[in-house]
Amino acid sequence: MYAEAAICGIILEKGPLSWRERILIDQKMWDAILSRVEKPARYIGGEWNQTPSEGDLAVCLAFPDVYEVGMSHLGLKILYQILSQKPGVAVERAFAPWLDMERELQAANLPLVSMESHRPLAEFQILGFTLQYELSYTNVLQMLSLGKVPLFTEERTEKHPLVIAGGPCAFNPEPLAPFLDAVVLGEGEDVICEIVDCYRKWQEDGFSRGELLMALAKIPGVYVPSLYNFTYRADGTIEAIQPTGGAPGTITKRVVEDLAGAPYPENWLVPYTEIVHDRVMLEIMRGCTRGCRFCQAGGIYRPLRERPQSELLDLAEKLVSSTGYDEISLASLSSSDYSKIAELTRALLAKYGEMGVGVSLPSLRTDKFAIELAQSIEKVRKTGLTFAPEAGSQRLRDVINKGVTEDDLLTTAHAAFSTGWRRLKLYFMIGLPTETDEDVQAIGELARKVLAIGREHAKRGKGGVELSLSVSTFVPKPQTPFQWEPQPLREEIRRRQKLLRDEMSKTRSIKLSLHEPEDSFLEAVLARGDRRLASAILAAWQAGCHFDSWSEQFSFRTWLEAFQKTGVDPAFYANRQRQETEILPWDHLKSGLKKSFLWQERLRAYRGELTADCRGGCRGCGVCPELGVANHLAGE
């Protein structure tokens, strides 16, 4: 570990100096760099509970954003734990250095290195990126480049790392296809070990890189983009997706059948500097049964699997003891849906409340039960509550299958204000399929009703109420019933935003925040792009684009220039209505959701028909039979 080396002095190995040794020797240079950068603590590593893992096969888990964001990601922690326990594997982490550190590395001609041993990315055998959001794609290129790893899969040889990727964006990784050697669909717990084993066997056999890719393509859930040929029609749509060299025609995602006993990061790293989610995260369940039609996560993480309560209590005990954190977050897509949520929170509060350890629920359904739950948690500290009705009118909420009525929201607001909350935040989307001006205005009407309830309660108590609206732009995502839908044009989104702003100008006390339509447009382009987009991503990155999800870094104009330069029409991807029969760039990548089910859901959306929660009976999405799994509830 670097921090130890700094105190104990440096032990040199024999042979020519590696980058690692050079950096260690040049303590002065590294020290000088750290003393110049804005937030040096994000580069020091050596977190509490960090134990060096030893092995001849070095795997680097790379998160294409800054340390504070990457260290907040549960998936990274889970895979880190699994690999650290695998014999012969040394697992390390790398994050995107912020702009000041980038400049320092480039000025000193130093490569991007891992946190643990300061090993340059190019010296790892396997480099695994997580793709959490589309606007991080250019950061993948930036990290490869800073790490001195060739950008294209075809440029890499046996000497270079195997570059793999996973995460929700892996369900359409096509825009990054030329840069990735292999892509993992679904949950990585088991398949990451299979990939490592496959790599080791290949290394021992001394075969070529092409043979490694072929062997990887035979692992279920592993997609090797270079083994697939895309052909296109004159109108730009896909004619065919053809596997070559014996690669499978379709790739189906991997899932952990049951979360009971599934590996969990017990050696939870506690950073010295503050990170985005600076707390113990307890994953209480995975998947969601609600079936909101805009939601990608709700579909791709199916089936629903709840972790047994007894196991969660055990994990909480281990994690609180080993981290010293003062907060346990009950993480999932919809935490108040966990079967035993009331019992679980009660048990945790009873055990840890005395120690000053709180419990938090990051995702609450809009119902009275959620308020009762929140009430039991925040007896004293009533910070604020967030709910997501997503759409203003009942008609549009039915279209997206949100399953929340106006009555639900108002009852919830009433319950929240009457039990002492003073701050409420509501999430909405603009640009959903079938949206009319009335739907947009309905957001304002609904918000005013909520405010009126709040004011009534505030009159009785002391102090005012705060209501804020956060309104984003709908981005159609692959593997959802809206995967065929156009995103409205930017001018149209601006018009609707203005409509809403005018509507809200009547009630200035409600804080309104609107997202820039340009960000959402680029997200829509990348989310449903095909591999012809890769040249535009490359051009945008070459022109300086990265950290696109950081608004101060985002340059829409540079992106437009990149599209123009590479002959890519972004509107073809973002704003076009696809036909039922069209071959989509991700048709060969299976989340378990049947395309016919998604299309039926799309038709039901247009008819305003609801599809009920699948806890009450199977709705035929296809996940359970396709994957040979089932929903697992904690009570069963």
Partner: protein, 221 residues
């Protein structure tokens, strides 16, 4: 000498790369260590309970220290050595606890006792280092302005310097006065006004009233 008490004062180090964590980071780290140790720590009342931990002085980011001080408050009386053992086991080597003593009731918080701090500074070698320092010390006042976001602070570097000694071509020993009323001068500012390039700054001790404290029992005359 009181053996058991509800308030324990620790002397600890902040070295290696942990010199790059901020004062707030340090507070969080210590708070988590107390929770891991399961010491019967006292929490503040109110909406957001915080462990009762108080530091003698905030250390600027980038400066290491061999003698920081902090007090922790407990809900029951403990032996200082026992508290040090339990808490120390939950800290990295770069934040090791070095000494502990029970603070008698009625003694003020550690920051109220601080009168100064001493530093060892390594700079890029200079042949005329001694002359430069002599000339600097001969002045009566050395005005200095510190730009802080929207605020400008006016300081007197010379007035804040109790001792500045040259050891060879690249080593300095500095003792700065601190006061609870005025803004404290930072060692980097002394180095900058001497037009020197600092390579390493280490706080060697915090001084209280009287002479050097062990921890905080003696101080500056």
């Amino acid at each position: 000498m009181v053996e058991r008490g509800k308030r324990i004062r620790f002397k600890f180090i902040k070295t290696g790369e942990l010199k790059y964590i901020s004062h707030l980071d340090l507070l969080r780290t210590m708070e988590r260590a107390t929770r891991r140790s399961r010491l019967p720590i006292r929490y503040t009342e109110g909406f957001h309970p915080r462990a009762k931990i108080q530091f003698a002085s905030a250390l600027p980011v980038g400066i290491a220290s061999l003698g920081e001080l902090m007090d922790i408050e407990l809900t029951e009386e403990l032996l200082a050595g026992q508290a040090m053992q339990e808490m120390g086991g939950q800290l990295p080597a770069t934040l090791a606890l070095k000494e502990a003593r029970v603070v008698p009731p009625g003694e003020g918080p550690p920051m109220s006792l601080v009168r100064g701090a001493s530093y060892q500074i390594r700079v890029e070698p200079q042949d005329d280092l001694a002359q430069r320092v002599d000339g600097w010390l001969a002045k009566e006042t050395i005005p200095w302005t510190r730009q802080q976001k929207n605020k400008v602070r006016h300081l007197d570097l010379r007035g804040a310097t109790s001792k500045l000694e040259v050891l060879g071509r690249e080593q300095l020993e500095l003792l700065l006065f601190f006061s609870s009323e005025a803004t404290n001068v930072r060692p980097q500012e002394i180095i900058a006004s001497l037009k020197l390039v600092p390579l390493e700054i280490v706080r060697t001790a915090i001084w209280g009233q009287g002479v050097l404290m062990e921890p905080l029992e003696k101080g500056i005359e």
